[in-house]
């Protein structure tokens, strides 16, 4: 389940590719530094996804392996109902294996818009691949204090068609080069989703958010928490973890 985090982080790296004249050079440099701070070739993450309902919450524990931004394999560890469910993402394809039916299905089209395990995240959110720099114009719109940390507020506006979110706003910690918050907007300017990054810790000389909250802003509730229990960077991951055979093992 480190996929959501990995995708988010991977998608805000890539500064060298920022070419638009409309983009703010300083904003590009900031994103580059975030990349250096947080990007690694591989990641192994044990995490908990906490989905808050009206009366109770569900805690889903998983272990995820990712290589680059394209490949990710996640196995759900608990609760019993989800245990053994596996998810494999290779480039723009996504498969889910369910032990209850012993079947693997490839998600495509409309199915990608469904919620992941009842959370505020959709599979499509997780599948987001195109680098922000390739598809958005970036500029620093404000500098302020956010949660007692000085931040830059960077606004990203769509420069190509077909993106899920027309506009994004990022709050970047000036000292740690870590995103603290992200807002996702509709074409009309309505705020749709907010992602909040907290519990920033130093791990292997990197600053890393250990807790992320995803919140659908049109909906009541506390959203979905994503808590990292254990993370390792640049560890060796066998290649078989990124093939379809792993799903039925």
């Amino acid at each position: 389940m480190n996929k959501q985090l990995a995708i988010f982080l991977f998608s805000i790296q890539l500064p060298f590719l920022l070419s638009s004249q409309q983009s703010d050079q300083k904003a590009i440099n900031i994103i580059e530094k975030i990349d250096k701070n947080m990007f690694s070739k591989t990641q192994i993450v044990t995490s908990e996804m906490i989905v808050y309902g009206k009366r109770k919450k569900r805690v889903i524990r998983s272990k995820g392996y990712s290589m680059g931004k394209e490949n990710n394999f996640t196995e759900y560890l608990s609760p019993e109902r989800e245990k053994g469910t596996k998810m494999l993402k290779l480039d723009d394809r996504l498969w889910i294996y369910s032990p209850a039916t012993d079947r693997t299905i490839q998600l495509s089209g409309h199915l990608l818009r469904q919620s992941v395990m009842g959370s505020d995240l959709s599979y499509e959110d997780m599948m987001e691949e195109r680098k922000l720099s390739e598809v958005y114009d970036a500029k620093i719109v404000q500098e302020e204090n956010f949660n007692n940390s000085p931040v830059w507020i960077i606004e990203l506006t769509s420069k190509v068609e077909g993106l899920a979110y027309f506009k994004r706003t990022l709050w970047i910690d000036k000292n740690k080069y870590v995103p603290l918050k992200e807002n996702l907007y509709a074409k009309s300017g309505t705020l749709l989703k907010t992602t909040t990054f907290t519990d920033i810790r130093k791990i292997d000389a990197r600053w890393y958010p250990m807790k992320i909250n995803y919140k659908d802003m049109l909906k009541d509730g506390k959203g979905t928490d994503f808590v990292i229990l254990d993370i390792s960077f640049d560890s060796k991951i066998p290649k078989e973890y990124f093939s379809k055979n792993i799903l039925k093992k």
Partner: protein, 384 residues
């Protein structure tokens, strides 16, 4: 024959209470069969009328990629409106989410011309409204989403390229229709507004056709006639009728069993009488006929008694109707609050024939034994 009929009537009236009970039970079956069938026929007529007026029109012309029963086809199941579009009212469907009271509810936005007249939907209100996103919804969605006329609700949808957009819908009217298919999870909006919202100018998922539509052979579009669209409804009602026939079948069986039992008892206890008939020159066949007529007359008397209390009851029900509990109206099929029974000539005649024929058969079966009786022994009153 006249003699047998006279004798039969005398015997029946002589039996008094036994005859009265048999006739009452049989008349009750007769009334119930007509009533239950008339309710089903009333539902059939009402459901077909409502479905045509609110949903089907004269038929649908559906995009080949669109399956009305599969929501996953909404995304790609649409096409450009053909140039020859006489008699076609375009409908565009798009998936969206509304957020009443902070809850997310998946719905289908249905774009329709505000000037259309083929469906009974009050779409003219959409044209008259000064709101930016005026919509109309049915009473079922209004109830489940706790929305009322005049309310505003956040909606999120995607344009043709997949980019999210969001805004506020204004509920300008809550319509009351018996057809849940156009109501549950559906929000109706002017198609021009939906085209603008989604960048799907001149696209439609399907068309409602009227009597002017002449060309069902259009590439990329499949024509479904009114008859085809109504078939699933008719099949469902026929299935219900079959299930219901078990109920009145049992009721009729009880009534017929009473006649059968009476006949068996009569033949057993009236052997001396049977012997006397034969001794006086009646053939066995005539005696069998006498007993069969006795049984059949039960059904005639049942029709008369049934008519005495049944006709006022039928007249009252045709005016008051049969109320349907609110829970049953949420079954997902066209069902009105009150169903008015329809008493067709065919229904009444078929019921009369069924009751008379079945009563005659159950009367005849025990009477066959008479043919095997020894008349001498019968005359002596010896049980055989």
């Amino acid at each position: 024959m006249k003699l047998e009929l006279n004798l039969a009537l005398k015997n029946l009236f002589g039996a008094r209470l036994r005859t009265l009970l048999n006739v009452l039970v049989l008349s009750f079956s007769f009334v119930i069969i007509i009533f239950l069938n008339s309710i089903m026929d009333g539902w059939d007529q009402q459901a077909q009328k409502d479905s045509i007026e609110w949903e089907f029109g004269n038929g649908h012309l559906i995009n080949e990629k669109f399956d009305p029963l599969d929501p996953y086809t909404i995304l790609d199941g649409h096409g450009k409106i053909p140039e020859e579009n006489v008699g076609l009212t375009p409908i565009l469907e798009r998936q969206a989410s509304i957020y009443p009271q902070g809850r997310m509810i998946s719905i289908v936005l249905k774009g329709i011309s505000s000037e259309q007249e083929i469906l009974k939907l009050p779409t003219k209100i959409l044209k008259e409204s000064k709101e930016e996103f005026p919509v109309i919804i049915g009473k079922r969605l209004a109830e489940s989403a706790k929305l009322n006329k005049g309310d505003r609700v956040q909606v999120r949808w995607r344009d043709s390229k997949g980019t999210y957009d969001a805004n506020t819908l204004s509920i300008t009217e809550v319509f009351d229709s018996n057809v849940p298919n156009i109501d549950n999870g559906k929000i109706w909006i002017d198609i021009n507004k939906l085209w603008e919202m989604t960048n799907l100018e001149n696209e439609a998922s399907y068309f409602i056709v009227n009597e002017q539509f002449k060309n069902p052979e259009l590439s990329s579009w499949d024509f479904k006639s009114q008859f085809t669209l109504l078939k699933s409804l008719k099949d469902l009602i026929n299935q219900k009728k079959t299930a219901q026939s078990i109920v009145y079948g049992l009721l009729l069986a009880i009534a017929l069993l009473a006649i059968f039992d009476t006949q068996i008892l009569s033949i057993f206890r009236r052997q001396k009488e049977i012997g006397t008939y034969i001794a006086l020159g009646m053939t066995r066949l005539r005696v069998v006929r006498l007993f069969t007529i006795e049984g059949s007359v039960y059904s005639i008397l049942a029709l008369i008694i049934g008519s005495i209390y049944g006709i006022p009851f039928f007249i009252y029900m045709s005016e008051a109707g049969f109320p349907i509990p609110p829970a049953d109206q949420k079954m997902g099929i066209a069902l009105a609050d009150v169903i008015y029974p329809v008493y067709g000539v065919k229904l009444v005649l078929m019921t009369i024939l069924t009751v008379i024929i079945s009563a005659t058969i159950v009367s005849y079966l025990p009477a066959r034994k008479i043919a095997k009786l020894n008349p001498v022994l019968a005359l002596k009153g010896k049980k055989q």
